[in-house]
């Protein structure tokens, strides 16, 4: 088991190297760089940009050098100093910009995953054990609606109705009076009262999909001989369902952690914009639009690292859950 984990961790190193190279390449792909954007911006404001000034800016940001040198410098600073470079647009170190947001994002993401799992597990189990019952049909119906309605639309609707009927603005993670206040009991309560909204909205589509997965997997397992064996032993039905078929049906659930993590970091951009959440999504969107390459690159690298870590976590969980994986 330990050897297995070690092996997986070592394998992560070349993977991460490849990913960082690729993400750096992707940011460089669109024509122009931050300077092009900056010059266009200045021209739009009616200011002249001289050649000398351009050259000075180029040197300042190190943009004139070949891309592999830029890449090498960037990675070296990350590894040796934990320095992800500087954001051009914000004129601040990337580190100052992202970690707060990464923290909130991780928190919302993890809570959303837990929410999705619990709800999907319970509803999926009910739908499978009560196949073709009214409850199953309702779960299926609600599931498909949840899958079909875009999350941002749900967010807009929720904002609209909570403002219309309750006079509340659930946007953001804090009420205005707590926005810049230090952490206190009141701020926590305020935070938690805002938190459920993004969790529910972000979790809807995932829940709907996971219910379908859970239901289908469990239906496959429910009539397997080992379930009948357990029943023939006299195991009570409730214990039996959870202990035997559900345990097997969990596998695909666990395997999805790998891609749930990064998807929630990058996939919630529009919802985060609509709900005004201080997560990474909106910042990444802005950075990409403005060719703010170190900021964008850092995000993409981070999302990739999360993917790799997510996959590792799901592999470890799977091995822990399923002896066939652990022992072979």
């Amino acid at each position: 088991m330990l050897q297995y984990i070690l092996q997986r961790v070592l394998l992560m190193i070349p993977t991460l190297f490849g990913i960082s190279l690729l993400s750096f390449g992707i940011i460089q792909l669109p024509p122009g760089d931050y300077l092009t954007f900056y010059v266009a911006e200045l021209s739009a404001q009616g200011e002249e940009v001289s050649e000398a000034m351009l050259a000075q800016l180029e040197r300042q940001y190190g943009l004139g050098r070949p891309w592999y040198v830029q890449y090498f410098l960037w990675v070296r600073n990350i590894i040796t100093k934990g320095d992800f470079g500087r954001s051009f647009t914000w004129n601040k170190p990337v580190n100052d910009l992202i970690w707060d947001r990464v923290g909130y994002t991780m928190m919302i993401t993890l809570l959303t995953v837990v929410f999705v799992w619990i709800v999907a597990l319970l509803i999926g189990k009910y739908a499978a054990t009560h196949q073709y019952s009214p409850g199953d049909y309702i779960a299926t119906f609600v599931g498909f609606i949840g899958l079909a309605v875009p999350n941002f639309l749900l967010a807009l609707l929720l904002l609209y109705y909570s403002l219309k009927f309750f006079g509340l603005s659930p946007a953001g993670l804090f009420s205005p009076e707590y926005q810049d206040a230090p952490w206190s009991v009141g701020k926590w309560i305020d935070f938690l009262s805002h938190l459920w909204i993004p969790i529910v909205i972000l979790g809807t589509a995932g829940t709907a999909g996971s219910i379908r997965i859970m239901r289908a997997n469990l239906l496959d397992e429910l009539h397997k001989p080992y379930v009948i064996t357990a029943r023939a032993k006299g195991v009570p039905e409730r214990t039996l369902i959870w202990r035997y078929p559900v345990r097997v049906a969990l596998n695909p659930f666990i395997s999805t952690v790998g891609w749930t993590l990064p998807e929630l970091v990058s996939g919630s951009v529009i919802v985060s914009v609509v709900l005004n959440l201080p997560t990474t999504g909106p910042l990444l969107l802005g950075a990409l639009l403005q060719q703010d390459m170190f900021l964008a690159g850092s995000f993409i690298l981070l999302v990739s690292v999360l993917t790799v870590i997510g996959t590792l976590i799901s592999d470890i969980l799977l091995a822990w859950l399923d002896p066939r994986i652990r022992l072979s």
Binding site: Y226, A232, K233, G234, P323
Partner: protein, 341 residues
């Protein structure tokens, strides 16, 4: 038991008029359609017939293991656990405490597919101890000791280590031994074995059958052996129930079935066994035709379209009643009905 006068208390299980139907969109399949037979204590009874004749469904009905859309429609399955303790299993509530106390305790069951009958997610020991602790008031350690003792009894080498093994680490034959060990761990009065050797290779088959015989002598339980292999029946059983399309067509002791079969279906089954030195020009004698489509049961006697001794004009219209040929030999055939029976 070879006496012809069996008393009531010798009967362990008494099945009367059992009907188990499957309600499908295409129609109702009458998988078990009025089955009567009894299982005497401590003996081995064989249930034989072609695929689809309702053998397994009968066995599953006994523990109420038939899943939707199947349902026990009618009939009684009376278990006599000794003295005046009689329970009609067919009348018990699904998932009731009473039913669960019978499952695994009074009646245990092993299945056709040892490769999938144990969960791959738990150790052999966990699954055995679970059964033991459900039915016996013992501690975890005592359950473990009991499980290891049972593994030893079924001839598994190094049982202490096997206790912690996962089923996928064992061969098919070993898994079936584990199933048997688990089934017998709570000292059941009846072991239902649903084609326990079908999925195993021939050498392993013989070993498992031998093991079952030995354990029967040791534990004294009755065995209900469901099989389509008449060779197995001849070796193992003292009594035989022959089924065709959800009905019992003949029941007798094993000698009578093999040497004096009365139902044309039983005769045809025996004819179809390949025998060394008895070949008719080297060819097999199969039963004519095949088992009819379950949605369209033939009228009258269900076997008449395939029967070589069919009485034209009667067998197509009259459904035969059970005739008692002698105290322990019954047959369901018009050839044997009294003129006004």
């Amino acid at each position: 038991m070879s006496d012809n006068h069996r008393t009531d208390s010798d009967i362990l299980l008494d099945i009367r008029g059992l009907k188990t139907y499957f309600h499908l969109d295409e129609g109702t399949v009458r998988a078990v359609d009025g089955v009567d037979f009894t299982v005497p204590r401590g003996t081995t009874i064989g249930i034989v017939g072609e695929s689809g004749c309702g053998k397994s469904v009968t066995a599953f009905s006994i523990l109420q293991l038939v899943e939707r859309p199947g349902r026990i429609e009618e009939g009684s399955i009376v278990l006599n656990t000794g003295g005046q303790n009689r329970v009609d299993i067919a009348a018990l509530e699904h998932d009731s405490e009473e039913l669960r106390q019978i499952r695994g305790k009074d009646i245990a069951m092993i299945f056709q597919e040892p490769m999938t009958s144990l969960s791959m997610m738990y150790t052999v020991g966990f699954q055995m101890a679970e059964a033991i602790r459900l039915h016996m008031d013992v501690s975890k350690e005592e359950a473990r000791d009991r499980a290891i003792e049972m593994l030893q009894a079924v001839g598994i080498p190094r049982p202490e280590q096997r206790f912690d093994a996962y089923p996928f680490e064992l061969s098919g034959g070993m898994r079936q031994r584990v199933m048997i060990a688990m089934a017998l761990s709570c000292d059941p009065m009846l072991l239902i074995a649903d084609e326990p050797t079908t999925a195993l290779d021939v050498t392993t088959q013989a070993q498992i059958l031998e093991l079952m015989q030995r354990l029967q002598e040791e534990f004294g339980m009755a065995i209900m052996l469901i099989t389509h292999d008449l060779g197995v029946v001849a070796e193992m059983c003292s009594e035989v129930v022959v089924m065709y399309l959800g009905e019992v067509v003949e029941q007798a002791d094993v000698d009578t079935i093999f040497h004096n079969p009365q139902h044309p279906y039983t005769q045809a089954l025996l004819e179809s066994i390949p025998r060394l030195g008895h070949s008719h020009e080297g060819r097999l004698n199969p039963i004519l035709g095949s088992v009819p489509d379950p949605y369209h049961r033939p009228s009258g006697c269900p076997f008449h379209p395939r029967c070589t001794q069919v009485i034209t004009g009667r067998c197509e219209t009259v459904h035969p009643e059970i005739s008692q040929l002698d105290p322990r030999h019954t047959v369901r055939c018009l050839l044997h009905e009294e003129p006004h029976g």
